[in-house]
Amino acid sequence: MPSSIPVSVAEPVAVTGVAGAAVSATWRPARQHWRQLWRRKTAVLGLMLAAIVLLGALLAPWLAPEDPLAMGLRRFAPPSFSAWLGTDQFGRDLLSRLLFGARVSIAVSFAAVGMATLIGGTIGLCAGYFGGRVDLFLMRGVDVLMAFPTLLLALAVVATFGGSTRNLILAVTLAYIPIFSRVVRGSALSVKQNDFVEASRALGARDGRIMLRAVLPNVLAPIIVQATFNLSTAIMIEAALSFLGLGVQPPAPSWGSMLSEARNFMELDPWLALAPGGAITLAVLGFNLFGDGLRDILDPRLAGER
């Protein structure tokens, strides 16, 4: 095979050239994007809310004034200086429980969205890039997952395997794989039409290389936008499943199960129902507003609403 030698020499040069161009097309204006984002007040508000939740989750062991599981004698205490949000039916400090509850929400949503992005992204990239039979086969599978309403699929997974943090992550991942597959497939289909993809193929790059270094950098924007939105809905699904008693099991604190337990005592102490729901709302709102801002900047085609 006479052509094999020049190809293997030309390949690295050509592909880095192509990929370099593609990467910088997405990332060179990063600082400019940041400035654009900073000008949008709602996006900044979203970023701040998300940052508060993230920091609360990360630093919970140091920020929390009490052990979230330690019971006390002062039950149903109203908010005061010693317990900022009061205490619950077992005399546990509500603020500490909220902070530790943030850990569950953040852990489940980030792990699930991360895994769904990886798996769904790979499926979508392969389907969009190869097209034809591969596309048909993969997308049929995705259609089957799409046939379940998100919460129903998550419920079915948790019902089968039992409620635990690990199974929650599994449930949300499975529910989100089709979403990421569709988004990435759509973008990959349009990116594939570009000349630089054709060019790198002509220069002898193999499929794997083209996909990773020419196509992938150009579908990153929609992936990032979608992931931000899905972080917010994942927090919601985790809370819903824990609310139904199918997620994190008590006494471990999670926002959903705290709200569910509060239902028995809320006439006595409405704070117990207000605080966890408020925490969920702020976290979800944060990622939603931030996602809206990111979408407007990174992916103007999707921002039809502005």
Partner: protein
């Protein structure tokens, strides 16, 4: 058109086949022995003969592929199995609760559309004013508030406003329409809030998009009053996009139903599903999951077909 419908309906078959495979696989993957779960509280527990009989009855002594074929055959004949707990056929249990779901969903969608379309149109017509900003922020907020929290707080407000109010027993609409509606209206409204923000956003976006099109300029230049331009021409064309987003939201409504029924204590399929999950009543879990997924894909198909009827560009 007829060809389009035929193709779309036929495309349901492989999807439903895949759905049945997935649901069956989950059932087969249940950790632990299903016979042990079933006989857990029974006095015959440990009786090898009784266990073997049960195993034969459930076809558990056969290889998995054969079990799938037998199970699928039952499904196609409308036999969704028998509940471990009540001993009644699963399909009957589901159908008995279906009217509750139909009523809740129909009311919720109606309320969401009746509120969402005017609000969204107002937001678009008053673009970049405080009204618009308020509506837009309100819809992001509405999208971020967990519906089960709103429902819980509604129940709380009810019990604080009317202390000592007895918990009302559910009454079917056919028996006592007035009483039924007082029980169902508030839950339906809360449920409608799950889809309202998206309907508002979609209406706004598509009215704005249509306002930019040439036919609007034509309508204006032939001297039609603005009111007529918006309500007769723009809105009519925008509703197609709203219809589409409503279709997508049916899944959200089905998920929301599970929570709404749990919080407002309404005897629908969602509560049946939750109860059976708690009791590990697997035939009911699989039956209800399969049923809801089938309803979901069918509704999506109906919306797609409606879209094709209303917008000839969709039919190719």
């Amino acid at each position: 058109m007829r060809r389009y419908i035929a193709v779309r309906v036929a495309s349901l078959i492989p999807i439903l086949f895949g759905v049945s495979l997935l649901v069956f696989a989950m059932q087969a993957l249940v950790p632990g022995d299903i016979v042990d779960i079933m006989m857990g509280g029974d006095q015959a527990f440990g009786d090898k003969n009784a266990e073997a009989r049960l195993r034969r009855q459930l076809n558990l002594d056969r290889p998995v592929p054969e079990r799938y074929v037998l199970w699928l055959g039952g499904m196609l004949r409308g036999d969704l199995g028998t509940s471990f707990v009540s001993g009644k056929p699963v399909l009957g249990e589901i159908l008995r609760r279906l009217p509750v779901n139909l009523e809740l969903t129909a009311l919720a969608i109606t309320m969401a559309l009746c509120l969402g379309i005017p609000i969204g149109t107002l937001s678009a017509v008053r673009r970049d004013t405080w009204t618009d900003a308020g509506i837009r922020f309100g819809s992001v907020l509405g999208y971020s508030v967990p519906n089960f929290w709103v429902a819980t707080l509604t129940v709380l407000a009810g019990s604080l406003l009317w202390p000592g109010m007895p918990i009302l027993q559910y009454v079917p609409f056919t028996e006592n329409p007035g009483r039924n509606l007082t029980l169902v209206l508030i839950p339906s409204f809360v449920l409608s809030l799950t889809v309202l923000p998206l309907i508002v956003r979609m209406t706004r976006a598509s009215v704005l998009e249509n306002l930019r099109l040439d036919y609007v300029r034509t309508a204006r230049s032939k001297g039609l009053p603005e009111r007529r331009v918006v309500y007769r021409h723009v809105l009519a064309n925008s509703l197609i996009a709203v219809l589409n987003v409503t279709g997508v939201q049916i899944g959200v409504l089905i998920g929301g139903l599970v929570l709404t029924e749990e919080i407002f204590i309404l005897p629908g399929i969602g509560r049946l599903l939750l109860d059976s999950i708690q009791k590990r009543d697997f035939p009911v879990i699989t039956g209800a999951t399969l049923f809801l997924a089938t309803v979901f894909v069918t509704m999506n198909l109906v919306v797609d077909l409606l879209h094709a009827v209303l917008d000839p560009r969709v039919r190719r």
